[in-house]
């Protein structure tokens, strides 16, 4: 079974014919060609696939693409480019919040969602908001520092 999916992806309207059981993560990576969103686990456990749907952080590996009709989906590619980093991306880059970088897109999207609803989170709020996003490399120290730096506007 297929469905017509119309959504706003990284600020641009887009329409595709997709299988009704297609996962959002596969839609993004295979149909839309946005490989920034990563799949790290077998479903809902790692946060690597975190994207924003109407500003809310969601696991793209647990979301059906067809359910995103009429909604705003944002991925890491929509946040900034290598030549024009967002403040949060710049902080991750400069504070070394990314090591292997595999968790980084999901981590940044989760942090982005946090900063949109709370411009100045304290460390406890950062830890709580990012607690569903796993990282095996960094020990999180520099990730927290990066989000704090972005929150402090620098």
């Amino acid at each position: 079974m297929s469905t017509i999916l119309s959504l706003t992806l990284n600020g641009r309207p887009r329409t595709d014919l997709v299988a009704s059981n297609l996962l959002l993560v596969d839609y993004l990576r295979d149909v839309a060609g946005l490989a920034g969103t990563k799949q790290g686990c077998d479903g809902g456990e790692c946060g690597c696939c975190t994207v924003l749907i109407d500003d809310e952080p969601q696991h793209a590996c647990l979301t059906l693409a067809a359910r995103c009709g009429g909604r705003r989906v944002e991925t890491i590619e929509g946040i900034g480019t290598p030549g024009r980093l967002s403040q949060l991306q710049r902080a991750f880059h400069e504070k070394l919040g990314a090591q292997c970088g595999f968790c980084t897109p999901g981590m940044i999207m989760a942090a982005e969602a946090l900063l949109r609803r709370n411009r100045h989170p304290d460390e406890a709020a950062i830890r709580a908001a990012l607690s569903g996003n796993l990282c095996r490399c960094t020990g999180y120290v520099k990730i927290i520092e990066a989000v704090r730096t972005a929150a402090e506007g620098g």
Binding site: G36, D42, E77, Q99, C100, P105, R136, G139
Partner: protein, 756 residues
């Protein structure tokens, strides 16, 4: 900064060269790779730990619409007649042949264009086994009548394994023995004798990019794209399996989404190579997270350690017996057994030492290298043991360590004289940071506080080779070709800094070309914290070679040596237009002397020593057994850091990984089945598990043998974490845990048992 670094590129904390690509999701991983005409493979795995394969029924899977092929070992043998691989032993079949030896062993593969179809078809495969009794414990495996492999099959590339060829009726894949001084006599004369046994649990690396490899057949060639830490080895081993010269196999990597030792040697590469030749089209296999747990693990271990101590609190003799649970296939376990065997007696100055270290085959998933190559398991034991002795003798644990510590200029257990190993400095800095001499808040009510520390060291794996090529293009820009794999440790950046320092250019302008065996030269592997030292030297030499050639070009053109005519201009003068190259080549293999087969002694056990220590402050809730790590301090000797801030992230990352192995991670087996192969039930540390305070420090040190005074760092922060925390728990509540992980249940049980 090292005296030899002048251009300002060493000791410079620039962000990762590829940082912008990573924070924007543009970095390249094999995870993202799609090849035209590609099919996906899904592996059907054994449900039993040990058994003879009676029948594999693939009919229903083959019949499913969309399935391209279903492959078993019979098919594999059509393209690879002797399909057994491995770095130390050729013991692992590409797909199970006749027998399965662990739960999760690959038995068959389904190929389909749609990975979901491949998965569905895989579930239709039926296998029947005649189950055999299984051996799972490393100590039992020593004497068990259950034999995992009929005969040992050493690979032959390690000369010290050759004597094991054809050995039958044993699960001991390798035994390493070290004898120094007169242990018997020293124990007879001892004032005190202490003996304890420690155990570690099975855990997994869980890189967040699960293992992934693809193979693409060409015209008499094969290209393998793989998330591998050892592209040069993959090429050699696949070429050997196929009986091809190396130049027909090309191996390419990209950034790795973590490795930690999981992606070493051969994992999926031999399988995708065979499948691609059978299918005559590209084949990609991406493991799911759960499959990684069946592919490679960290060695569980049992360590019996016994010390003789004189009346002054000096350790006069130590006896170590270590059993390593290597699982069903040796992988690199025999190396772990030997190399870690060198240092099993700890960073102490002990005249009489006996070490026996055994690599055991069992019916568990294979074990290999995991961030420390066996060292964290050893430090866990010897630093817990050290505190227990100090406590029993009523000596302060720091004071006891100082009395016995191994200093530069003194021989270590192998007889190798220590150099550039700042063990005492690391201990001193931990003591200072912990404020050891100051009064310490012991807590109140049901929450008790304690602190502890631990120091460990490691001999770098040797001898291994690195080769680098530096190419200066016609416009004067620079490409660096090396097969070191950047899996998050920042090697691209560090290597660029080393090349840039020699060439006196900004590191940002160096382009690091990623491993591609058709393009980048040989490197043994990215493992064991060896790259900074080995590849660092090779890169430095390649850049120096290029400089010599620039000077020759200047001389050729009559340009005075000191002049600053740009390189592009030199090329223009030489070739009359923008053209030409200068290619610098460098290689490095350190000196090393193999240990004597009978005594384990050697005058040169390692090119360099790694030293790491941890201090911990904990709070133990005596009502629940819950342990909160309030403060974790990691201090390391890594020589002179090339990039101090990247080094700091390596320390905190390594320490938190080891915190997971210490407090919470354990692969749970019941009735031969693995109960928790997923991140929901196998919990790695998340943000909520972090200590409130984490501190990292590199002591002021120089590795005189290293490039610009540097040495490796990837593993160092893992060494001391587990025993430091166990020692702190003991200090808080007076109970001693001897088995990892230190879960609330384990603490609670120990408290009740002690009547507290």
């Amino acid at each position: 900064m090292s005296a030899t670094a002048k251009a300002g590129q060493i000791g410079r904390s620039l962000p990762r060269l590829e940082g912008r690509a990573k924070v924007t999701g543009r970095a390249e991983y094999i995870h993202n790779l799609r090849l035209p005409g590609m099919v996906h493979g899904k592996i059907f795995r054994s449900a039993v730990a040990h058994g003879r394969i009676r029948r594999v029924d693939t009919a229903a899977a083959k019949a499913l619409s969309g399935v391209f092929a279903v492959v078993t070992s019979d098919d594999i043998r059509k393209v690879i007649s002797n399909p057994y691989y491995g770095p130390a032993f050729h013991d692992q079949p590409i797909l199970a042949i006749d027998k399965v030896r662990h739960v999760g062993e690959p038995v068959a593969v389904v190929l389909a264009e749609d990975p979901h179809v491949a998965e569905e078809a895989m579930r239709l495969i039926i296998a029947e086994y005649d189950e055999l009794p299984a051996v799972t414990d490393e100590v039992e495996a020593m004497t068990s009548t259950v034999i995992v492999h009929d005969a040992l099959k050493p690979a032959g590339i390690f000369p010290d394994l050759k004597h094991l060829e054809g050995r039958k009726g044993t699960n001991v894949a390798l035994d390493f023995h070290l004898r120094r001084g007169d242990v018997k006599q020293a124990f007879a004369e001892a004032t005190h004798v202490f003996e304890h046994t420690f155990r570690t649990q099975p855990v997994m690396h869980t890189p967040l990019e699960p293992m992934v490899s693809a193979a693409e057949p060409g015209d008499g060639t094969l290209t393998i794209h793989t998330a591998s830490q050892s592209p040069s080895f993959v090429r050699m081993e696949v070429a050997r399996l196929l009986g091809w010269p190396e130049n027909r196999v090309r191996v390419k990597t990209a950034f790795l989404g973590g490795g930690f030792g999981a992606k070493l040697y051969i994992k999926l590469e031999a399988l995708v190579a065979a499948l691609a030749l059978l299918a005559r089209r590209p084949v990609k296999i991406s493991l799911a997270m759960d499959e990684q747990f069946f592919t490679i693990t960290k060695h569980p271990s049992t360590f019996r350690i016994k010390s003789a101590v004189d009346k002054d609190g000096r350790v006069t003799a130590r006896e170590c017996e270590v059993w390593w649970n290597g699982g069903a296939y040796a992988d690199v376990g025999p190396r772990v057994t030997q190399k870690s065997g060198f240092t099993a007696a700890g960073p102490y100055d002990i005249d009489n030492v006996a070490i026996d270290s055994y690599a055991l085959y069992t019916n568990r998933p294979p074990a290999g290298a995991l961030r420390g190559f066996g060292i964290p398991q050893l430090v866990w034991a010897y630093e817990s043991h050290t505190d227990m002795i100090a406590r029993a003798l009523g000596i302060d644990p720091v004071e006891f360590r100082r009395r016995n510590i191994l200093r530069d200029g003194r021989p270590q257990a192998t007889g190798t004289v220590m150099k550039d190993a700042a063990i005492d400095k690391v201990l001193d800095r931990l003591v200072q940071r912990l404020g050891w001499s100051r009064p310490f808040d012991r807590g109140q009510g049901s929450v008790k506080r304690g602190r502890g520390l631990a120091v460990g060291f490691k001999a770098s794996i040797a001898p291994t080779t690195s080769v680098a090529i530096l190419n200066l293009y016609a416009d004067g820009s620079c490409g660096l070709y090396c097969s070191t794999v950047d899996m998050g440790q920042g090697s691209d950046t560090a290597m660029a800094q080393i090349a840039a320092e020699v060439l006196d250019i900004p590191a940002e302008t160096v382009r690091v070309v990623h491993p591609d065996t058709d393009v980048t030269p040989y490197d043994m592997a990215t493992l064991g914290s060896r790259s900074t030292y080995h590849m660092g030297h090779a890169v430095k030499r390649a850049a120096e070679d290029a400089r010599v050639k620039i000077d020759a070009l200047k001389a050729d053109l009559g340009v005075p040596p000191g002049s600053n005519v740009p390189l592009a201009e030199l090329f223009r003068r030489k070739y009359g237009m923008q053209a030409g190259n200068i290619v610098g080549v460098g290689s490095f293999v350190p000196s090393y002397a193999s240990p004597d087969h009978d005594t384990g002694l050697t005058p040169n056990a390692t090119p360099f020593w790694m030293v790491g220590g941890t201090g911990a402050e904990v709070e133990v809730d005596t009502e629940t057994g819950h342990v909160r790590v309030a403060r974790l301090i990691n201090v390391a000797d890594l020589g002179t850091p090339i990039n101090p801030r990247i080094v700091e992230t390596q320390l905190s990352g390594g320490a938190i990984m080891q915190l997971g192995f210490t407090m919470q991670e354990r692969m749970e087996f019941a009735d031969g089945q693995l109960l928790n192969p997923n991140l929901a039930d196998y919990k790695i540390p998340g943000m909520r598990d972090l200590p409130a305070r984490i501190e990292s420090e590199a002591v002021d040190a120089v590795e005189r043998g290293g490039p610009f005074g540097a040495k490796g760092v990837g593993e160092t922060a893992t060494f001391g974490v587990s025993p430091a925390i166990a020692n702190a728990i003991d200090a808080a509540v007076g109970v001693r845990l001897t088995e990892l992980p230190l879960t609330p249940e384990a603490v609670y049980r120990a408290l009740r048992k002690a009547g507290r």
